[in-house]
Symmetry: C2
Subunit: 105 residues, 2 copies
DNA sequence: CTTGATATGTAGCTCGCCTACATATAGGCT
DNA sequence: AGCCTATATGTAGGCGAGCTACATATCAAG
């Protein structure tokens, strides 16, 4: 699945990934690909701006690190981010209920 | 749930409702409220423009009718609309799989 | 004779996400 | 030495969905 199929769930997906442990952007993309069973393959142009939005919102905290010459910006989820994830998860479950009821699936 | 929780599934919800039979805008809003177990309450400013978009796209066909003095625009799903609904349903199921896998729910 | 339900629609706006591009280092292959 | 791929981060410009608020009209009930 490419990025236009996630329909507003991008932040929730990223926060859910970060709750398993801090990670940098490239690793988040790889983790989402892996945890989705190779179904999700998000472009960097989608994920990096999202991380900056989340950082501005106070949901993640970023810090620069160095790994074998390559600079990395490693993000960790904050308390506010955990709360946002909880809300995102609840919103998702509500949507799932409605879609299930209407589609009859 | 208000309209900002449906995240790109509006067209699919409307098409799914119309596949049970033709209906006018106001009835579609009521039907979605009913079939979702009173969870969905969409504002007219969301549904009516969506119906016009769907009509422009050829997914629904509208015709004016009269019922006890009130004019109604009754919409019926087209063949192209059925195909779009099938795709919308498939896209939704794919998203649901990914979300379930990543959220672990 | 006013209020609420029925019924449709527009104007203006915000924001999420996409596409395409730009940049840089490390490691392996030839 | 030179090239390609993987790793890694980011910007510019743009589109379109759906929201908020508003405007309009008829019918039924109190």
């Amino acid at each position: 699945m490419d990025a236009d199929g996630i329909h507003g769930q991008l932040d929730t997906l990223i926060l859910a990934t970060l709750q398993r442990g801090e990670a940098h952007g490239y690793a988040i993309i790889a983790a989402l690909k892996e945890s989705s069973g190779e179904q999700l393959d998000l472009p960097s142009g989608t994920v990096y701006p999202a991380l900056r939005r989340l950082e501005r919102a106070g949901f993640v905290a970023g810090k620069w690190t160095q790994a074998s010459g390559r600079r990395r910006r490693v993000y960790a989820i904050t308390e506010a981010g955990s709360a946002a994830l909880a809300k995102g998860r609840a919103d998702w479950l509500a949507l799932r209920e409605v879609m299930t009821a209407v589609l009859g699936t």
